[in-house]
Amino acid sequence: MSLSNHERGSEVKSSGRFNFSGLALFAALLLLWEFSSRFTPAIQPYFPPASRVIHSLFQPSLARELFGHLLDTLGRFLGGYFLAAAMAVSLGIILGYFRFAYSLLEVVIELLRPMPSVAIIPVAILLLGIGNSMMVAVTVYACAWPILINTIDGVRNIDRTLIDTGRTFGLGRWKILRRIALPAAAPYIVTGLRISLSIALILVTTSEMVVGGSGLGFFILDEERSLHTSNMYAGIVVVALLGYALNRLFIAVETKAMAWHRGLTARGML
């Protein structure tokens, strides 16, 4: 049995120095976009000048509309993500701690896990209709996997000595779980939570596109279909900002919450 898909992905650290060449290339690309669009009116319907996108982003009526969609998307994201985290971490601890419980669910897990999670959308539409609960449910399902697998992995990789020490000092089951198992598995759980962050955004926007109604995913697809392309690009800018902000927020919380852990590893010593 191999559960080891502890995929860390890579985190690229920016040096924090002022990146002149990077900003220059970014500005050059923006200018290229602006002028290639301005001088070839034929492609403007698909590719409006950057300035027009920025202009439409700051139009009060559109900004209000975008803000409403942003709130819808954010609400679904938060509901799905936190529900998934609560459920998957608790289930993962049980499955990691009790081999018998894991053996019961192993086959079902191995059967469902390789299925791309977006395929659950049609089932969710069928069972829950096309409202918020369907989008949240789909997000919960998809986000739960990385968190669950990583939590199981993390609990399994706890040094036995830690638990035995706890026992020697007379800690009860519950105390061992809270004071030893959970902190020891935390780095793995955090990895799962980080992977799920981007998955949640993928599932929310996709389900908004498929069922429509509201949300940034719906807005972007809808503006594309009615050929309001500068609005579409404005929506994409907002989604990108949302993704960026969530990522930053996650890193900030992680740095704070896991500071004790960094102090324990070799990285902290150098």
């Binding site: 290339l25 192993e106 791309p116 395929a119 069928l126 498929v210």
Partner: protein, 258 residues
């Protein structure tokens, strides 16, 4: 055969009882059989779809798109990642553009791709390409950056040219992490092919599943999901086989280190 409390048999027993319970609640109409058709009916429609070749045709058109986008991403990103890992100035120049585009959830690229490529294969290939970029690019770059300096200096001492050093030293040394990127991207590829087929397509397995739901052919929908799960499992196993063969030298080295 000895039965232990933690045997794998448990899992199969649970699976069988879930399937039996499904069959029962559907047949007795405790749950609406329109939404939960009996398990036997799902399996029957799965096999008939497989043997009639319909599922295979859908999977084939999905896989064609998936393979094109995935391989394109690998062909572009592995060389680019090596260059970015070796030359910090190149990385710095691209950093802002990458950090701006990366937080974009890939599904929102679908409408843009539809504008430029229409509803054809080009749109899906582009979406898959775009979403596979980041894991491969960043892992390759990370892998190259983490190469032991001694290795590169040794290559230089022995008079290897830049090109040969990349081919003979840097690429192999970074390959474990390149493989990690490729593996993450494989899962992403499957997700995005299904998404792009759900949003804008008239064939492929993603379209098939959503379309079956819309026409209330629920047994076909579940059968499609089952084949998608099998496909995902198969692709993952194939990838593991490939990376185990490809990286067997690396694992051998790890073992001798211990």
């Amino acid at each position: 055969m000895t039965w232990s409390r933690e045997s794998k048999l448990n899992g199969f027993l649970v699976l069988l009882s879930v399937m039996a319970a499904w069959e029962l609640v559907s047949r007795t109409e405790m749950l609406n059989p329109l939404f939960f058709p009996p398990m036997s009916k799902i399996l029957r429609s799965f096999f008939s779809l497989v043997f009639s070749g319909e599922i295979l045709a859908q999977i084939l058109s999905s896989m064609r798109r998936a393979a094109a986008g995935y391989l394109l991403a690998a062909l572009v990103c592995i060389p680019l990642g090596i260059i970015m890992g070796l030359f910090n100035s190149v990385y710095r120049a691209l950093e802002v553009v990458i950090e701006t585009a990366r937080p974009l959830p890939p599904p929102v690229v679908v409408p843009v791709a539809m504008l430029f490529f229409g509803l054809g294969d080009g749109m899906k290939v582009f979406v898959i390409f775009f979403s596979c970029l980041w894991p491969i690019l960043l892992n390759t770059m990370d892998g190259v950056r983490n190469i032991d300096r001694v290795l590169i200096h040794t290559a230089r001492t022995f008079g290897l040219s830049q090109g040969r050093a990349i081919l003979k030293v840097i690429l192999p040394a970074a390959s474990p992490q390149i493989m990690t990127g490729l593996r993450i991207s494989l899962a992403i590829t499957l997700i995005l092919v299904v998404i792009s087929e759900m949003v804008g397509s008239s064939d492929g397995i993603g379209y098939f599943i959503l379309d079956s739901q819309r026409r209330l052919k629920v047994d076909q929908m579940y059968a499609g999901m089952l084949s998608l799960a099998l496909l995902g499992y198969l692709l993952n196993q194939l990838f593991l086989l490939f990376s185990n063969t490809f990286l067997s030298w690396h694992r051998g080295m790890l073992r001798s280190d211990k």
